[in-house]
Symmetry: C2
């Protein structure tokens, strides 16, 4: 199989931490160019805009779009209309409607679009899904509590409208929940806490249910100091289940069933290559839809100002 | 063709003003029962809950669900799982996710689901769509400004989370806009004004665009006294277009092209019968998706308290 000429757009922390190592370790790809307002990737051609890059390097076959979600649509349209396959970092856009449009454009241009949800590739997610499919769930609790100062230092876009605030990590939890449950859930109640000086929530409490009346409560909080929590717990007829460390570790009835080193981004890039070779797209909007539903349905509460 | 045995659930103002006359005037239907917490329909069997009604009147073939959107899902699941066709008043639910689930259930149960958008059946909407398809749009302005005290007197649910506030009428504008434009649009910026004592917005300003850079501004306001506005104006290469009175009247370049008496609910019920007979569903979520996008993307502004 010939390698895929890949370009990366929006070179920031996630690209350096995750994308570049994952691409370097995958023989399916040759990284040929990057475009970014500020960042650079050493050893390849760098451009200021995706438009300049696509014009200068026609051999590009696929692009990974890693800029903040508010700027992703315009870049994705350029890439798709130029016949390139597109990998979207999460969340795939600032609105559901724009991503629906991208999916239609990918189909019309006969290229692959991949709306990636890295947490779905956490090591124990599939094992949790299999476990839950074989039992009955009595209640589920999601706690995604982290220190925003530690994980998003100085990232202003995350606090701006469309930046999603605490839903930026929370959507990872929702991407796992919507994968491990066999029935679709939907929000019935939410409270969103907005710092008085910010346009995005710092905390959220969301109650979900499904057609069978599932009791599912999700708590997202960015003010957590000390130990950090990325846990999903379920009371089931087969005993308590605990999917912890962001999907890395699975415990059932106190027994550790699954704990492997995480390989999320390497798996995302394997999946993207598979989609390109199969001529298919993968655009599951459920996690972003849950976020939009929570915003639409949620009660707003103003809380004390947040300063970085 | 045999008539369809119809039942209505949630008997309030919209049922008395619109549904009952439309059903009475359509020979496709026989109204056989109603269920409502408070309301009643004279001359047929009335029940307190949809569950009691479906059990007592097995001959029901289709139901219209007209209760507030926060209560629609549970009723729809009961009806669909009992093999009944379902007509959903607008908005079709309190969340996008629950309506996606309903669409899947309708398909699984081989019955028709109709997410109705009555304003799309306003007299001049199709003529506006045809006009716009033949020209280039330079800019578009939507103004939906009405007096909430006149149109929604004492309707508490509309101010509660999930009641959508000014988006309850605004979604009518969005249902027209998404019908008359040939390219999909998406929100890029929004400001939502919440009265300090309410959980839903009283006004909203939303900027939309599309892949070609369309300049579309929508203004929704519930504080309008005096003349009421439900207007969509476009500057086009073929002159200015004005779709006014909620889609009833079309003027191009000052010339009145279209003004007929409105027949929105009669047309909705004709459409529902067609869908049932064709074995199809019609669940276009675009208008509700735009609302959810605006909530997710929007800046919140607290304004003075509103008292009915």
């Amino acid at each position: 199989m010939s390698t895929i000429n890949l370009a990366i757009v929006g070179v920031g922390k996630i690209v350096r931490d995750q994308h570049l190592p994952a691409v370097a370790g995958n023989a399916d790809y040759r990284l040929v160019a990057a475009a970014s307002r500020n960042g650079r990737v050493e050893g390849i051609d760098n451009f200021g805009t995706i438009g300049d890059m696509l014009q200068a390097v026609p051999s590009i076959q696929a692009v990974s779009l890693c800029m903040p979600p508010q700027y992703r649509y315009a870049a994705a349209v350029q890439a798709l209309e130029a016949g390139k396959h597109v990998f979207l970092e999460k969340p795939p856009g600032a609105t559901l409607s724009e991503v629906e449009d991208l999916a239609a454009r990918a189909a019309a241009n006969d290229v692959s679009l991949f709306a990636s949800w890295h947490s779905r590739y956490a090591p124990a997610v599939e094992a949790a899904r299999t476990f839950l499919a074989g039992t009955r769930i009595r209640a589920m609790r999601v706690a995604w509590k982290e220190d925003v100062r530690q994980w998003h230092p100085g990232q202003d876009w995350i606090w701006q409208p469309g930046g999603l605030g605490v839903f930026d990590p929370g959507i990872n939890a929702l991407s796992i929940v919507s994968r491990i449950l066999s029935q679709p859930v939907f929000a019935t109640e939410a409270t969103l806490e907005f710092p008085e000086n910010r346009d995005a929530p710092i905390a959220a409490l969301i109650r979900f249910t499904d057609a069978t009346g599932l009791d599912l409560l999700a708590e997202f909080d960015w003010r957590q100091t000390g130990p950090q929590n990325w846990d999903i717990e379920a009371e089931t007829e087969a005993g308590p289940m605990r999917l912890s460390e962001g999907g890395a570790k699975l415990t059932v009835d106190g027994q550790l069933l699954h704990a492997e080193p995480e390989q999320e981004y390497p798996m995302l890039y394997r999946r993207f290559a598979e989609l390109i070779r199969a001529g298919r797209s993968d655009v599951d909007l459920a996690p972003l839809r849950h976020v939009a539903d929570a915003f639409m349905l949620g009660r707003r509460k103003v809380v004390e100002a947040f300063h970085d």
